[in-house]
């Protein structure tokens, strides 16, 4: 059993990475040649990776133009998607074409919050309830302690959830252009330490009691937002659907009912088709945290037939976590992708959220239509690997 080598002074270097690739080869007999092929400057990676050894190259395709009518994103965008799944880019591309021809996708960020949810235990439920009142009355003090740790994060409010002799507090912050999980962790820890110093009778507290709910889908996040809450909407003329996708508005709508019913029965985190596909692909391309696909892939599809017989289609993404600053956004390839979208830098997180929301809607429309028109399997035979 041999430990992975580390060079103590400056570990995120080309040399240290080479050491580790050599080490891996010695241990496993496999040369990591392609893994070592990178244009990333190791000096830029401190804070992104430990035991840096090289890179995974993920194929990247462009889809679009995607016509977006947002409050932050306006116009046509070429969307970079990094994936290894054949058909994915083609399918999103097809949806982007149809929605573009329909006049584009209206999209809005309707809520915004990042959480850390500590929990406090007391001797009894009654004491826990009293603590809850104290927290409400001391909100301004708590806010002050939390915000003292960050230039960007603002404590919006604190939700309270009560069970047994516990009080779970859910601190809601806005975090600017960062995803903010670490920022709100630090801020909430400071706030909790102050609370613990002020309030007698706390039996025990933890910085997270699993009501945040980080890297996890939850009904709570669906109700109360984590990251951005994004709604994308589009009205697709029946004529256009028939022409481009070989389905009618009425059939799409009937299928939506059946998908709703199936999702209800299966108790899914998403009554739509495959938003995880588009989200994962854009996340990897733009330096978002791919683990957040867990919660960001939750979605609520809702459709209506208009009086004119056209198809109103909307996707609500209740917990889309995006950043245009921090995380992987500064890495060379990811940065280029963000720049291409005009989403690098300050005050761009909402813009990126809108572009992703619109992308998701385009992909939902495309896959739903393919299932309906019987194109699903054949398209994978055209584009995908023959398995």
């Amino acid at each position: 059993m041999t430990k992975i080598p580390r060079r103590t002074d400056d570990d995120c270097t080309a040399e240290a990475a080479a050491d580790r690739r050599e080490f891996a080869q010695r241990q496993t007999g496999v040369a990591l040649e392609h893994v070592g092929h990178t244009s990333l400057d190791p000096a830029t990676l401190a804070g992104n990776i430990e035991n840096f050894t090289g890179v995974a190259q993920v194929p990247l395709g462009l889809a679009g133009p995607l016509k977006v009518d947002g409050e932050h994103a306006q116009g046509d965008f070429y969307v970079p998607m990094a994936t290894t799944e054949g058909t994915l880019v083609a399918s999103y591309n097809r949806g982007m074409r149809v929605t573009r021809e329909a006049g584009g996708i209206a999209v809005s960020v309707i809520d915004d919050a990042m959480q850390r949810a500590p929990v406090f235990r007391f001797a009894s439920a009654r004491e826990a309830r009293e603590f809850g009142q104290w927290v409400t009355h001391h909100f301004e003090h708590i806010k002050e302690r939390a915000e003292a740790t960050t230039r960007v994060g603002k404590l919006r409010d604190i939700e309270q959830y009560a069970v047994s002799r516990f009080r779970y507090l859910r601190f809601n912050y806005t975090t600017g252009d960062a995803a903010g999980q670490n920022m709100v962790g630090r801020a909430t820890e400071a706030a909790c330490q102050w609370i613990a110093s002020q309030y007698a009778g706390i039996d025990r507290w933890l910085l997270s009691g699993n009501m945040d709910t980080d890297k996890k889908f939850s009904r709570l996040n669906t109700l109360h937002t984590r990251g951005k809450r994004v709604v994308a909407e589009c009205i697709l003329p029946d004529r256009l659907l028939r022409e481009r996708l070989r389905v009618s508005a009425e059939d799409l709508f009937a299928q939506r009912q059946i998908s709703n019913l199936g999702a209800l029965m299966a108790a899914t985190n998403n009554n739509g088709a495959h938003s995880a596909n588009g989200i994962a692909a854009v996340f990897i391309a733009t330096g978002q945290d791919a683990a957040n696909v867990a919660e960001s892939s939750s979605a609520i599809a809702h459709a209506e037939l208009t009086a004119e017989g056209d198809y109103y289609y909307s996707i609500t993404i209740p917990s889309l976590i995006v950043a245009t600053h921090g995380g992987g956004t500064a890495l060379a390839t990811q940065r280029e992708c963000l720049e291409m979208l005009g989403c690098l830098g300050k005050d761009r997180a909402n813009k990126l959220a809108e572009i992703i929301g619109a992308t998701v809607l385009a992909g939902e429309l495309s896959l739903s239509s393919a299932i309906l028109a019987g194109d699903w399997v054949t398209s994978h035979e055209t584009y995908g690997r023959n398995r």
Copy 2:
């Protein structure tokens, strides 16, 4: 509005990719230099990407050695993790060390199934019920039609779910070393076409009615498995926990109760800590479909204090979707990572599933301990970006 260029004859070439990067620069003003820096041979990418333009480089670190006591994976493994989130590799590495010192992680694949779930509508619920009986009686015929489309896939059984005048059938297949979503789509479509030709009275059918539930967490998958159902287990001596993680078995156990309660209240897809982190990182490194983080990140943590006061800890992953063939597994960097794990090629999918299961458990232990010991925020300050 300009379309992304395509060269009709052979589109997945270095030249076509260069065309598109130029096009992107003309359209957006951004040069995709790093995106163009790749050692992947475009000829190997047909079936993985459309509109191939370049790659996203995702930093890769090694964690381990991870000591695995599986039925397919035995011994020490160096686990490649591709991520942009500082602290992640360090945290998993820490968990691997402690579990290794505890004697390693026992892990088993306890179920295996990949689904496609078509839906059939009838004039009434009664007719839908009769159809269900017909399906049961004609299972062997249906199986024959389905399996005629694939060398590898085997139709295990068909679950039936009834609501209103619909019958949702959930075809369960084993798919060898492939993840199998496309394979089971093709097989099920063939089966459904045969059914539709044989059974009068089907009002309408769709190849998917959202009970598969592809790229989505669902209670149904938690109960009945999608991909591999993996359980990882470890007994951590109290002494070791105190020494290495500065927590006691008893405190970890008490914390688990609180996390269970929080997860129950929030109604999460996972009562554990952050399995999405480890899964996403290994998925990207080994060419798995990152969108499957949506369902693969579901997990059930269960802990017990042993009679000796040590910590029995287990993670059940009910829908872990992994492949060692097909998808992104043949790409150059991903292939190297799979080879390093001894997971490339035939009869290796269970081995990879076991390694990922053990990885997840190591990471759960590490993060839980960090929250408990108050190391969480400080470790992110050490390893993460200063935000």
Copy 3:
């Protein structure tokens, strides 16, 4: 602190009840005069109540005629409903009228199973998996032991659910005209004792591991039925809806979409309106276990607009627990109500299930229409208490 008096030899007598009423008066100062007013013969109550003290009188109204087109219930029924909630009977009555005028409600029992779900713990997940295989191979032996304890109950199959080092078995029985919870408890206990005597390596077992899920709503029951799975269906002509309920088919359908969406967001056990109302009222009137409202009130509403513009409406009740034998069915008032429905005695449980299914649909239609037409509040002002 004084114990409630018991006469040891024959406790369920008029005298013992009088003793207890006197005792209550001494202890609390309140005379239980009305509670003592009963025509039930105490001799018939052994097995229904302990510390028998009298009765609660619940007002009973008739609704109907309800036109049922079932496989067991055919024709018009006057439905006894016991409730204290003003408007309830009137509302169901209204729905019965409209559905009658629409030609009646088609209703079918499409599945039938009563469960006990023991759990077995092992040293490891792998051993739990092996046990599962053993159970599958020994199904006939297990069935024999279970069925030896009952004349009526038949063990249909055993589902298996795996998590950590546990194996949860869900024994599915048919139980004739009884609800069967006790019957399946006894049968499963006998089966488990045999299993425990045959299979080495069981660490611990419990007769219930909370996957039955008795007196509780669960997603599992929604998927796999507990008691009867009943679907009621009706096509309501648009013209009739406008005339009788002052709503159009189209508006009802649009409202259904909104109710589906709200229910999805709130994560309810029922996307319909108020099936618990009808179920509780008929349950109390007919001697069913009112606690089973917990699981029986779960329902799935599904509507469609037909090509003719009429309203197809269906209710699926996945876990309706009814009996026409045992429980409270033999009590004097309850027996009269069952007789009035032609549901007392052998082979009548499905008939009762169908009548209740149809009742629920009638009530759903009525309340939905009232909300839509703006009659909801005013009707409560007409019929309900002024609060």
Copy 4:
């Protein structure tokens, strides 16, 4: 097809009831003799029932004394339970004895709210978001309109939930000693009519969009309370458990873990044992709405082993709907039962909630212990019907 007779002027009379019983006999051949046997004064029933025909007599037993340490209920109570399920009263009685010997059950009402949740549709998600802001700014005006309709109800706050182009508002009221569903319906309708008259751009609104969630379990209610949120707690000495229930604190705790796991897997509305039993029985005895068992039976069990090896046990009931005024509380038998508990009249709803909370905990303890000690089946053979 014959209509149920109604006497137009004064329909809730003994004569009208007799008419209907005769009518039922003519139609069905069954004499409703026992149904006609009632001491309820029909004049008191207007507002409780339509088509009054008689009563269902539900057997009533006393359990107790139950030792309650509440903020409103203090001391020993004899709890009236109306049920037809043998063993139920005996089981609760047993739990009351043990908890009494343990010093009683601490219980608190920690939250209180009754809802009506209208929904508003707009042309787009952006307009729905703007409306949400308007509602926030006009809360005082809305409150004024709502409260103008009721002497008792107070509008506490309005939660907002956003999806697609809808805004669901959840009006939270306190309603004094009434359950309050009708009261809040009327108040919210008045508020909505005012809103609709003031705010341009509302496409359509409905008084309920299924986020209330009346007569339904929901995750939303579990998080945010409907009716009273009650926590009951008790510390059971290990010695006492062994003596009285033949189980140890440690075994009970281990069983709780297994029940938690089973409930998590099954996705239940309650991780406890059978709170619906106690709630339904007390609800029927005291004139509560039995349909509310649907939501009131939701519960969260949480246990801990204390440092001394004793058993801390708590039950949180997030949506217990109780009244001591209105509904069925004034009926003769129900009124006697409420009086016996000291719960009739003004400012008694919290007291009743506490008594029910304590009752539930007693019953949970008893059934859990019976399953663990292997008494479950045999006790039903002693007390229950032999089926």
